[in-house]
Symmetry: C2
Subunit: 447 residues, 2 copies
C-alpha cells in the first residue's frame, strides 16, 4: 500500500461538538442545534478544507436526559437539503433508519437530496437500536437485532429498485412531439417481499448518482456482513491501531467474498482530534473539556449503555465482572463491546472510563499538535487500518476550523489528500463507481 | 368588509407551470422539476413581490402517463428546506399525506423546516386520493374517504401533541449549572389512539411558530368540516364568483360553529392568471398554450378523473348523462363535481372541456391585462368570495414574473396588498395567532 492514494475525510457534525461538555464552553451557542447559520458555517469550513463530505447521525427518538447535552436535533435529511443550497462541492450524508421509515418515502427523500445537490447525497443506513424510537412507532419493545437487519436488507433492496425504476435517459423533453418522458423507461417494481409490498415506480427521476452513496456503521458480525453486501463507505469506532487493522482486514475480506471490489468500499474509523499549537496546549484543551463533564449525567449515560443501575457502577471501582456479553445485547452491540474492552484492557475505573468516553463516545481521541495528529492519521492510513477518517471534532466550530487550517494542509503537503475537488459528486470524491440500472435489459426490451 | 384589510397571495409552484402544455413552450426547461436553481429563482421572484408564501402540491405515487407532462417531482419538504436557505422572508408550504406518513417523522420534518426557515413553514394536509400511492405502501386499494379523514384527524391531533412536547423555553443552555434543557419542560405524549400509539417526546425542540401553519384543500363536506376544525388557510378551486361566495360563507359558518375565529382562517381560491399587455395579447398567450395540449393525453386524463374509458367520452359530444354522483367517488370528490358541473352548466363538449381544464385543472383562469386581473381579484376579495388567492401561473417563470411585476403593483397602489413584509414568520404574513402549548399547565405543574 503506498501513499499515492488519497485519504478520504468526512466531517461528522454534532451541534457544538462530540465532547459531551462542548456546549458549556464560552464559544458555544447552546441553541446551535436548530440554527441553520451554524451548520452552514460548518459545512462551508469543511468545503474550504476540500473534505469529502459532512455527516449527521440520527435516531427517531429522544434518548437520555435532555439536561446533559444538546439532544433535540433537526431531521438530518432536511438539514442537508438546506445545506445543499448553501454549498457547492461537499458531499452530504444523513443517517436514516430502515426500521422506522417507509422505503418509498425514504428512497424519494434521498433521491430528492441527490437532485437538489447535483449528486452529493449519501445515506448512512442504520437499524436504530433504542426502545424510545420503537415507542414512537406503535411498538412497545424494539424488534430484535436479527429482525432489524433482515428488514434492513429488504429495505435497501427495494430502495435500489425504486431508484432504478426510471432510466437515466427517461426524460426526453421532446417538445416537438409532445412527449415529456418515454413511458417504457419508467417502470413499476412490483416488489412483494417478506416485509414490504411496493408497486412503484418512484415519483422522482433517477438520482444523478444513480444511487446515493450507501454508508454503514454497524460493526457487529451481522453489521459487518451487511456492510460487505451493501456499503460503499463504512464508519467505525476503533480505539487502537491493532483493533483497527483487524477490523479493516476482516471487512475487506468479507467484501471480497461477496464478489465486490474491496477497493471500492472505503473504511473510515472515527477520530476525535484535539489540537493545540503544542502538545501541552492540546492536553490543556482536553482537560478543560473533561472538567466540564457533569459526572452524574455521564454516569447515568454509561449505566444505560451497560444495562446497569448507576448504583451498581461505583465511580472509583473498575467495571463489575459479570456484565452481559455482546450476544445478550440488542443493538449497538459492537459499541458495547468496545467500551467494556477499553475499560478492561486499560484497567480503568468507572470515573476514568467516563473521562475517556466524554470526547468520542468510544472513538479514538488524538490529542496533540497538528503534526502529531497528521502523523497518526498517516500511520493508520498507510498500515492497513483506514482508507480515511471520520473526523469528529470535540468542539464545533473551533475543532473543525483547527483541523481544516492546520492538519489538512500537512496532509496535502505530504500528498495524502486532495488540494482541490476533481469531481462534482460524492461518488467521485470517494472514488466509487456509478451503479448500473438493474432493469437495464427490461427497460431496453420494452423500448 | 372594507379594503383596509390586505389580501394574501400564495404562489402555487408547479415545475414549468400549471398549464399542462407549458413545458412545450420555447422558454421552458423540461428538466426544471429537478433543478434547484429553477425553484430558487421562482421563490425569490415571489419574495420580490412580497407574496405570503410559495406552495408545492404532492402525492406519493406516480399518476397518469409520464409522456404527458413533467410528473416526477422532488419531495416538497426537501425542496422547501433547500429554499429556506435561499430565501429570507417568504413562507414555505408543502403538501404531505396523513395516509402515507408516520406522524412522528412528519411532525419532525415540519418542525425542522420551521427551525431551518426561522418560522416560515406550513403544512397542506391531504389524505391522498389515488390507488397508485396506496400500492407504494403495502395496500392493494386505497382506504375509503371516510377512513382517510378519520385517520387524518388523529394524525393532526398527535402531531400537535408532538410539537407541544417541548415548551418554548425548555432549552435553558445554563452553562454554569451544566443544564442544557429543563427536563420537566420536555414530556412524553403517551398517545394511545385508534390509529396511532406514540410515546414521544419529539426529538426536535418546539417550532418557532409553535405549530407550522396548517393548510387544507379538501372541499367535500368531510373536507370542509376537517378544514373548519384544523385549517388556518384553505386552498379551494372555484369556477365562478357565486360558487366562491357560497363556499366562503359556508366554510366561515362551519368555522364559527367550532368556536374558532373565522377571521383567523384565510380562504384562498386558486386562480390561473394569463396576462398580456392587451386583452388580445393575453388571449393569444392562452390560445398558444391550448394549441400545444396533446388531445390524446388530456382525453385519457379526463377519462381517468371521470372513471370512464376514453371511448365512452367522444371528443365532440357532451359528457354522458349517466356519470356517477359525487357520493360514489372515493377521493377528489369536489374536484370531480366541479368538472362535471362546469361541463353541464356551460354545455361543453369533451373537447371544449379539455381546453378549459388545460390551464388550471378546475381552477378559474383570469385572462386579460394586469388591470383586468387586478380588478377581478379585487372584486372577489371585496364581495365575500376570498381572503386572498392561490396564484397558479400557467407558465413558469414567466407567468409569475408577469404577476409580480404588473399585477401586484396595482394591488399595492389600491391598498389591497402589503408593500413590504411587516413580520418574519408565515403566521405573521397570514395574520394568524401563535398557538399556545396544550401541555402548558402540566409542564408548569411538573416544574
Amino acid at each position: 500500500m503506498t501513499t499515492a492514494r488519497f485519504m478520504h475525510l468526512n466531517a461528522f457534525l454534532m451541534t457544538t461538538g462530540h465532547h459531551e461538555a462542548s456546549w458549556r464552553l464560552p464559544e458555544s451557542d447552546p441553541h446551535a442545534g436548530t440554527d441553520l447559520a451554524h451548520f452552514t458555517h460548518l459545512a462551508r469550513l469543511a468545503e474550504t478544507g476540500r473534505m469529502d463530505s459532512v455527516f449527521f447521525a440520527d435516531s427517531p427518538g429522544l434518548q437520555g436526559d435532555v439536561g446533559r447535552r444538546p439532544s433535540g436535533i433537526l431531521d438530518p435529511t432536511m438539514l442537508l437539503a438546506a445545506l445543499a443550497a448553501a454549498t457547492e462541492h461537499i458531499g452530504l450524508i444523513a443517517t436514516a433508519s430502515t426500521t422506522y421509515n417507509d422505503p418509498f418515502n425514504l428512497a424519494r427523500r434521498f433521491a430528492s437530496l441527490d437532485h437538489l445537490s447535483g449528486g452529493r447525497a449519501g445515506w448512512n443506513i442504520v437499524t436504530t437500536a433504542n426502545v424510545e424510537a420503537a415507542r414512537n412507532f406503535g411498538l412497545e419493545t424494539q424488534p430484535t437485532h436479527h429482525d432489524r437487519y433482515e428488514r434492513a436488507a429488504e429495505f435497501v433492496d427495494v430502495t435500489r429498485k425504486l431508484w432504478d425504476s426510471w432510466t437515466d435517459d427517461a426524460v426526453l423533453g421532446d417538445k416537438q412531439a409532445g412527449v415529456w418522458a418515454e413511458s417504457s423507461r419508467v417502470r413499476p417494481i412490483n416488489h412483494h417481499g417478506w416485509h414490504y409490498r411496493i408497486g412503484g415506480p418512484l415519483n422522482t427521476p433517477r438520482p444523478p448518482q444513480g444511487h446515493p452513496v450507501l454508508v454503514q456503521a454497524g460493526s457487529s458480525t451481522e453489521g459487518k456482513d451487511f456492510a460487505a453486501d451493501h456499503a460503499e463507505a463504512i464508519f467505525t469506532a476503533q480505539q487502537t491501531l491493532s483493533h483497527a487493522q483487524t477490523f479493516y482486514s476482516d471487512v475487506k475480506t468479507r467484501i471480497s467474498h461477496t464478489g465486490r471490489d474491496p477497493e471500492r468500499v472505503k473504511i473510515l474509523p472515527g477520530v476525535v482530534p484535539v489540537i493545540g499549537s503544542t502538545e501541552a496546549e492540546a492536553r490543556q484543551v482536553a482537560e478543560q473539556l473533561d472538567e466540564l463533564i457533569v459526572t452524574k449525567h455521564a454516569h447515568t449515560q454509561l449505566a444505560r449503555t451497560l444495562r446497569r443501575h448507576p448504583d451498581e457502577l461505583p465511580l472509583d471501582r473498575p467495571l463489575p465482572a459479570d456484565l452481559p456479553t455482546e450476544d445478550d445485547i440488542e443493538g449497538a452491540k459492537s459499541r458495547y463491546s468496545l467500551i467494556v474492552t477499553l475499560a478492561r484492557e486499560e484497567n480503568l475505573t468507572v470515573r476514568e472510563l467516563i473521562g475517556r468516553l466524554g470526547g468520542g463516545r468510544g472513538h479514538r481521541t488524538f490529542t496533540g499538535t497538528p503534526e502529531q495528529v497528521a502523523d497518526t492519521l498517516q500511520h493508520w492510513f498507510t498500515t492497513g487500518a483506514a482508507d480515511g477518517f471520520n473526523i469528529m471534532p470535540a468542539v464545533l466550530p473551533s475543532g473543525l476550523q483547527a483541523f481544516v487550517e492546520h492538519v489538512i494542509p500537512l496532509l496535502q503537503q505530504r500528498g495524502l489528500f486532495r488540494t482541490d475537488y476533481t469531481g462534482t459528486t460524492l461518488r467521485e470524491h470517494y472514488d466509487l463507481s456509478q451503479p448500473g440500472n438493474q432493469y437495464e435489459h427490461e427497460h431496453a426490451a420494452i423500448a
